[in-house]
Amino acid sequence: MQDNTVKNLTSNPLLDPKGNDAGSLLFVLSIVAYLATITLMFSLSMNRISASWNTSLKNTATVQILVDNPRLIETQVDITLKNLKENYPNSEVTAVDKKKSLDMLKPWLGNSVLPDDLPIPALISIKFAKEDNKDLAYLTPDLKAEGVIIEIDDHTRWSEQVKRSATALKVASSALLILIFSIAILITNYATKSALLAQKKIINILLQVGAKNIFITKLFIKQAGVRGLVSGFYGVSLGCVTIILISTDRIKEIFIIAPPSFHWPDLIYLLTFIIGFSLNCSISAGLTSTNILSKKYRRK
């Protein structure tokens, strides 16, 4: 015979802790929390990436020299370089060499062998120093006077686009988070409903020995809150592991854009998320329990 006695040091929870498929419920809630974590981290990373792209785009510009006669390239590049270096003494002004220019064209032209005499536009890149004025508006008429026709790309178009995409991503991930939270609410509602049914015997006993509805509701609130905390913790931990794994250099290469990465300050968001997730579960369990107890269990 096995000793079936239970230590009487602490009180057992009144609701059956093993009842109502507690394990699979925890699993499902953890998955939900995991998806939420990935979405949250993705959104946070997007914010960071768009911010860093924007600053780097703002601090650089490219001047393209439009040449009709390839033999004049060298001189025209020199004229432009000289002008720029005079006006932006602290900034980094460099002519992009032919090979690099070709590399930059690759995405558009593909890997096909290009004819040697293909007119490659001469490019000059500028990395503005903080002290220098970034206005390039003077440059076009200035150089035109010297016979050099240029086109300036100060990336404003890009930066607008990056900003717009980042906003779109932010909206999308917020919507996704709301959806995920709604799913958690639905799951908890369903779990509470089925627990109220499955543990009907226990609830009837509790009512019989004088428990008020609010007492029973509190049991469900507590249970759901703990489940929210535990599954939130599992989901977030697994989410962080995933993020750290995909941000290793090996895996990074697979992604077209930089994958989400983990930064320590994100922990604040993640902890807030776990607490919010737990509250979300508690509140929905509380509402469901109150609702059902006042309807179905109301003594006629």
Binding site: N4, N8, N12
Partner: protein, 240 residues
């Protein structure tokens, strides 16, 4: 808020724990199981409710402990008409009644100690405050050694005693028991019954439904008999 009370009626009902008047009860659209029942339990009385199986004993008890609502007629508990009770009042009335049912209604994952302490725990008492009382009571019903056991490891008689202990732990004014000796042998029946008489001696009103005629013999108690929906008061003429 300051409605004038009727003091005369209050005094008249003061000594009555349960009163049924012209009570009728049916389940849904079924036949009337109880018709025109008039009965009254005095404070501190000990009453057996007898009758063949299916006569409506359990139904009558359920009406007493507010599990069911009557189809017609009046029920008043502790001097108050239950149809005029607020939800809060019904709740506090329920707390004055200790109920022992045939199926024991023990919670499977809680120890016997925890099951017995349940009424105190749900009314918010601290464990340290009731540990001694619960242990003493369990000792008294002969379950001192089984306190930490789970219900599934107990025999029928032990479960029954645990259910009784739970019903009396909060010192109710009225104890209602439905066939409390249904699952135990004669010796145990007598022992359980002595628990009830003991409680009754300390002032608790007791109402026990049973179809076991042997049990009633030798106990000084009122007897109410139900048959064919009619309740007969035989308390003045003990059956032979």
């Amino acid at each position: 808020m300051f409605k004038k009370k009727k003091p005369k009626l209050k005094i008249a009902l003061k000594n009555e724990v349960v009163r049924f008047e012209r009570l009728g009860m049916r389940y849904g659209r079924g036949p009337e199981i109880l018709s025109d029942v008039d009965m009254c339990l005095q404070n501190g009385s000990f009453t057996f409710l007898t009758g063949p199986s299916g006569a409506g004993k359990s139904t009558l008890l359920k009406l007493c402990y507010l599990e069911l609502k009557q189809s017609r007629g009046l029920i008043s508990l502790f001097g108050t008409d239950i149809s005029k009770m607020s939800r809060k009042a019904k709740h506090s009335t329920r707390k004055k009644i200790g109920v022992i049912l045939q199926d024991f209604r023990l919670i499977d994952h809680l120890t016997i100690f925890e099951n017995v302490a349940l009424p105190l725990r749900v009314s918010g008492e601290k464990k340290s405050n009731y540990t001694k009382d619960v242990s003493e009571l369990l000792q008294w019903v002969g379950l001192g050694a089984r306190m930490d056991a789970l219900p599934k490891t107990l025999s029928g008689g032990e479960k029954q005693r645990a259910a009784i202990a739970r019903a009396v732990i909060s010192k109710p004014d009225l104890i209602i028991a439905d066939e409390p000796t249904g699952n135990v042998d004669e010796v145990m029946s007598k022992r359980l019954l002595s628990l009830f008489t003991e409680m009754n001696r300390s002032g608790t009103t007791v109402l026990i439904a049973t179809h076991n005629k042997k049990l009633i013999k030798g106990v000084k108690a009122n007897i109410l008999h139900i048959e064919n929906g009619i309740l007969i008061d035989t308390s003045f003429e003990p059956s032979t």
